[in-house]
Structure formats: C-alpha cells, structure tokens
C-alpha cells in the first residue's frame, strides 16, 4: 500500500488571515434520493449528523454532511474511516439507485481562519459573504477565481474550502495572494 499524502502536505500561510491545507481528509460523494429514509438513516449513522437542508452543512460526532446538489451529498469523515463508511453506505443502499464513492484523494481541503476570512473569499467568489447573508452552517458551491469550489463556515472566523486536488496548489496560491497582509478592503 502506498503512503497517502494530501495535495500540499499540510502547507500553511500566515498573512492577513491564516490559511492551512487540511491534510488527509476523508470525503465521500454520495448520490441518490435525498428524501429516502434508508439513505438518511445511513448518512446519520455514518456521521452522527442530521440531514442538511438545501445549501447547508451539518456537524456530527463522527463527521459532517454537506448538501451539494438536489441529489448529492459530500460526507466528511476521518480519512482512515472513509472506505469503511463507503462499504456501510453501499450495504445499506444495496437495492436502491445510488452511488457512494471515496473521493478523499481526489479533493483538496483548506481552512481559512481569521477575522478577515470573509474578505479573502469575497475577492474571488460571486457570493454575498456579509454576516447577515452567510453564517455558520451555510454552504455554497461556486467559483473562487476561475475554479469550482465549495465552502462553508464552521465558526464565526473559520471557513473550510474544498476543490479538486488537481487544482489544489493553484487555489492555495490564489488564496495566499488574496490574503496578503494589508490587502483586505474591510467592506464586509
């Protein structure tokens, strides 16, 4: 078995805010009928989190559940658990039309922490990131610069961002430039 490494091996940047590559993070793409009782039960048993509403993320003892589209969730669990969770989901949904895939190594994840985190993301995403419009548990799939990404807030000063691994280094560099000391407009 080869040694798993995340896209930037936990790289860090400190400027106007702190940016950290999250390291190995278990991520499971689950597609199916989100109203289905068996699917909902399987998701909750894997993560301890409730089913999220549209464009929301929920947090549980053993994972997080992100609403990605009307028929798609992203489950975040410990990296080492991802394969077992996929097996459990597949068993629970064996006779239903669905897809559960471990995409951990195909994605990158970053944490943006600091009072200016909203300002940094607002430089590249066409999203109203004011506190009135976007808060803890809200989630958006959108673009950052020209890259597809999804982000959500875990507390009042922290965002988590996911993107495809192939563009992870570019997004990290982009975020670091956007977070240069003294570069935040403080509009929000």
């Amino acid at each position: 078995m080869s040694e798993a490494i995340s896209v930037l091996g936990g790289a860090r940047f400190t400027g106007a805010i702190e940016i950290t590559e999250a390291g190995l993070q278990g991520m499971i793409s689950l597609r199916g009928d989100l109203a289905d009782a068996a699917l909902r039960a399987a998701v909750t048993s894997a993560t301890g989190a409730d089913m999220p509403d549209v464009r929301r993320i929920t947090f549980g003892d053993t994972g997080q559940v992100a609403w990605m589209s009307p028929d798609e969730l992203l489950l975040l669990v410990d990296y080492a658990r991802a394969d077992a969770v996929v097996a459990d989901l597949s068993a629970a949904l064996a006779n239903k039309h669905h897809m559960a895939a471990n995409v951990s190594d195909a994605r990158a994840m970053f944490r943006l922490h600091g009072t200016g985190a909203r300002e940094v993301l607002a430089k590249g995403a066409p999203v109203d990131l004011s506190p009135q419009a976007f808060g803890i548990g809200d989630l958006r799939r959108t673009r950052i610069g020209q890259l597809a990404a999804a982000f959500w807030m875990t507390d009042a000063e922290t965002f988590e961002v996911v993107c495809f691994r192939s563009v992870g280094e570019f997004l990290f560099d982009w975020l670091c430039v956007a977070a240069e000391e003294g570069s935040l407009p403080e509009f929000l």
């Binding site: 549209v54 464009r55 990605m68 589209s69 009307p70 798609e72 066409p126 999203v127 958006r140 799939r141 959108t142 673009r143 597809a148």
Partner: protein, 107 residues
C-alpha cells in the same frame, strides 16, 4: 451582467456561476426524420430581439440544468423554471405578459 435564480438549489447568482446552453424547448428530430426537419433541429435557431427562452446550467453550483425566460434587448430576466417541461409554465408566461403586453406568446 445577468442575475439568474437556479430553480434547483434556490441560489440567485450572477452570470459567471452559470453556463449558457442555447435555445430551450427544441423539438428533436433524429435519424430517419425528414432532411429539412433534421437540418432545422441541428442548425436552425431563433434569434429574437425580445423575449427568448434559454437553457442554462448552474455549472459552478449544483450542476443542474434549468430554463430561463429573458429579453435579449434589455437583459431583463422574466423568470427561471425547471427544464422538465416542453413549454414555459403558466406563471412564466404571465410574468412575461405583465412586462411585455404586446408579446405574441410562446410558439
């Protein structure tokens, strides 16, 4: 700059989050159809100055296709609606008629 509301996920976002997919409500003519119908299906497109129905995809968002009714002259968006229909729904038609009383209707 257009602002569109994705009916699948409810986000109201600006144009750069979407991808345009051309004219909506095309009737497909496949192999075995009349040459003229097939040519029109492949290449013939409306190009109105005014009310137009288009396909859009929430490319950077939830990924779903939907339809939009808008004015090509003013960029006013009359509404967006599910792509699972062969003609504009009544509320969209009503919204267009309210803003364009002289509009000849969907055909």
């Amino acid at each position: 700059m257009l602002k569109l509301k994705c009916p699948a996920c409810g986000v109201e976002a600006e144009e750069t989050e979407f991808a345009a997919g051309g004219e909506a409500h095309l009737k497909r003519f496949g192999p075995g159809s009349d040459d003229r119908d097939f040519t029109d299906y492949l290449f013939g497109r409306k190009n109105p100055r005014g009310v137009h129905f288009e396909r859009w995809r929430h490319a950077f968002g939830c990924g779903k296709w939907f339809h939009a009714a808008r004015c090509t002259a003013t960029l006013e968006v009359f509404g967006t609606y599910s792509a699972r229909t062969t003609e504009p729904p009544a509320d969209i038609v009503a919204a267009i008629k309210a803003r364009r009383p002289g509009w000849e209707g969907f055909k």
